[in-house]
């Protein structure tokens, strides 16, 4: 069994009249595998598809499982006039696949109709969540609103799933 320590520090000198700083930390006792990989998400855009970062069949629903994603570059999004940004955002959403009782919602695909994005990661941003292992998780690159538009360059992401 491997062990992993995660630490999250949050600090600000101007959000309140007093300097704000706190750190939370947890030690994960892992029973399975895990690792970090980095790739270009652009291959999962324009084609109206998405990249699966976790499959609902991978682990048991009661196994604590953790997902880390960072939008490393997220550059090159050609926004339309009035768009939020010229940088692409990484959207994270989940399907309802997996356990039979999750069949209410079919797995998302194509133009991502169905469930809304649960996280919208800007360039340089990251997320860390203990996921619901009974759902599948997908990412795609788009503008802030979720419109894929024209991704003209790369959207490099790195992610890891730990169980």
């Amino acid at each position: 069994m491997a062990t992993v320590k995660t630490t999250f520090t949050f600090s600000s000198t101007d959000i309140t009249s007093d300097a704000l700083s706190f750190t939370v930390s947890e030690n994960l006792a892992l029973t399975g595998s895990g690792g970090i990989q980095r790739f270009n998400l652009s291959t999962a855009t324009n084609s109206q598809s998405a990249y699966q970062v976790y499959n609902s069949q991978s682990f048991d629903a009661t196994d604590p499982t953790y997902l880390y994603i960072k939008n490393v570059t997220g550059s090159g999004y050609s926004a339309s006039a009035g768009g939020q940004s010229t940088s692409s955002y990484v959207h994270l959403y989940q399907s309802g696949s997996g356990n039979a009782s999750n069949g209410t919602y079919s797995p998302l695909k194509g133009n991502h109709e169905g469930l809304e994005s649960m996280a919208v990661i800007p360039q340089g941003g990251f997320t860390y969540i203990p996921i619901n292992p009974d759902s599948s998780y997908f990412i795609f690159a788009a503008d802030h609103t979720g419109s894929e538009g024209n991704i003209t360059a790369s959207t490099i992401v790195e992610f890891g799933v730990f169980n």
């Binding site: 947890e26 649960m118 759902s135």
Partner: protein, 172 residues
């Protein structure tokens, strides 16, 4: 405009043959308000969730609203274009009386999102997106168009919660 620095460090000495350690950091330029509050989740949610099973769709009636997205009845809803961040920790999560075969005697904080707000095909409810075990935490840049809810299920036939202390903050 306030600024906030968030840093996440991940390290392990035995997950691979070489010691693994990396740190990511970001500086948030905030335009609105934010803060961290701590409270007993049981004070809001009293165990009336109709389906204590950890699977299946939910509605927001029995959970605590962490963030009100556009389309919510909460008038404090922000613009969908404002980057917004959610931090939540399950501080204690104790007192869950698990049924036989249950995964834990500590309560787990679940987060789900509603389908409120704009979208191509909004749904009323969704599956849990996050399951935070005792002592665990989550940090995510949220979709400001949808609402986020937290609850802690009681377990089927169980005595219910004695206290699930959480702390959370929404920053924008």
């Amino acid at each position: 405009m306030a600024t906030v620095n968030t840093t996440f460090t991940f390290s392990s000495t035995d997950i691979s043959s070489d010691a693994l350690s990396f740190t990511v950091s970001e500086n948030l330029s905030l335009t609105g308000s934010g803060g961290v509050v701590r409270f007993n989740l049981n004070a809001k949610y009293t165990g009336s969730m109709e389906d204590p099973n950890m699977f299946g769709p939910r509605n927001g009636a029995g959970a605590y609203e962490l963030y009100a997205g556009s389309g919510s009845s909460n008038y404090n809803n922000p613009s969908g274009s404002v980057p917004t961040y959610l931090y939540l920790k399950n501080v204690t999560g104790s007192g869950f009386s698990a049924s036989a075969g249950g995964p834990s005697t500590a309560s787990v904080v679940h987060i789900f999102v509603s389908g409120a707000g704009s979208g191509t095909q909004a749904v009323d409810s969704a599956h849990d997106i996050v399951k935070i075990y005792q002592g665990g935490f989550a940090y995510l840049p949220i979709n400001s168009n949808v609402s986020y809810y937290a609850y802690s299920p009681t377990g089927s036939g169980a005595a219910g919660l004695t206290g699930t202390i959480i702390e959370y903050g929404v920053f924008r």
